[in-house]
């Protein structure tokens, strides 16, 4: 059974923001809502600066689901964490619980009223008829039901951002790390998928010691 996950290779991300643009364009996300963003760590430190593309990681044991007072979250059979906007009250608990800052809240009105939560759906839409106008308007495009992967991962020019079944993308990453001989650390992987009882949800193993191949 496929368990959809994201993996960002910090060695490859060039901070082009192509993933952010792809997400915005594909889902017609409103102004002020960033389902995906690129963050820089060790900013300004020579040789240690890395960029990482961050969105909802669709955690194995999602804290947003645990804290939601109206239980509007659900997890699909593919491991994608989605929510029902008709039920969401925009309280913001999920935002505080999320270690990745994924939940976004559109600001509406002159007094900055907080709208219903919006987040990355792994391009899997939401609880509306697949590929319908209602689904697109509320949740964005449902690419999974079209047999496609999230637009951000498929548009990534350096293939730093991988999306798909955890085992498959971990294997791709493992081979990549073995070939280049460095950069086995996957940011966010342990936080999102670490405590899972599934043995397949382990971070890719470290490469053998040695220089570049």
């Amino acid at each position: 059974m496929a368990r959809m996950k994201f993996l960002c290779d910090a060695e490859r991300c060039i901070e082009c923001n192509g993933c952010v643009t792809a997400c915005k364009n594909e889902n017609e996300v409103p102004w002020g809502v960033n389902r995906r963003r690129v963050v820089t760590i060790n900013d300004g430190v020579v040789g240690a600066e890395k960029s990482i593309s961050v969105a909802c990681m669709h955690c194995s044991d999602a804290p947003c689901m645990a804290v939601c007072p109206v239980d509007c979250f659900y997890k699909t059979d593919d491991g994608v964490v989605l929510h029902d906007k008709d039920l969401c009250i925009g309280c913001g608990y999920c935002f505080y619980a999320c270690p990745f800052g994924a939940p976004q809240f559109p600001q509406a009105g002159a007094f900055g009223l907080r709208g219903k939560m919006d987040k990355c759906t792994f391009c899997a839409g939401g609880p509306e008829p697949d590929q319908s106008e209602t689904e697109f308007r509320k949740y964005g495009r449902n690419r999974l039901s079209e047999g496609k992967l999230p637009a951000c991962a498929e548009m990534c020019s350096t293939k730093a951002l991988l999306g798909g079944d955890g085992d498959v993308i971990a294997n791709i990453y493992r081979e990549r790390v073995l070939r280049r001989g460095k950069g086995s650390e996957v940011w966010g992987w342990g936080t999102a998928y670490g405590p899972s009882p599934r043995p397949g949800a382990q971070p890719p193993s470290a490469p053998p010691q040695g220089g570049k191949s």
């Binding site: 804290v67 239980d71 999974l144 039901s145 798909g164 990549r176």
Partner: protein
């Protein structure tokens, strides 16, 4: 003398009552979804060929997973280059 000691003891107990601290961290609960049911991505038929959505049989999960797997492996540029 004795009432004074008893009064002091009672006062001390009352004064220290607030020190009995209770756990104030809310416990996470495992919620149960209350919203609308969702359909499965493999429930509908694939897009026409010109939209490159892959091919699977509507309602057949295994064929949909195989189709998506092909798409996932296309992210492996080493295989794309060296094949």
């Amino acid at each position: 003398m004795k009432p004074v000691v008893s009064l002091a003891l009672i006062a001390a107990v009352l004064a220290l009552a607030a020190c009995g601290e209770r756990e104030q961290v809310a416990e996470f609960k495992r919620g149960k979804y209350q919203g609308k049911p969702d359909t499965q991505p493999w429930a509908n038929a694939p897009l026409p060929n010109e939209f490159r959505g892959g091919s699977w049989k509507a309602g057949d999960r295994a064929s949909w997973e195989n189709s998506v797997l092909e798409r996932q492996l296309a992210q492996h540029e080493h295989k794309r280059i060296y094949q």
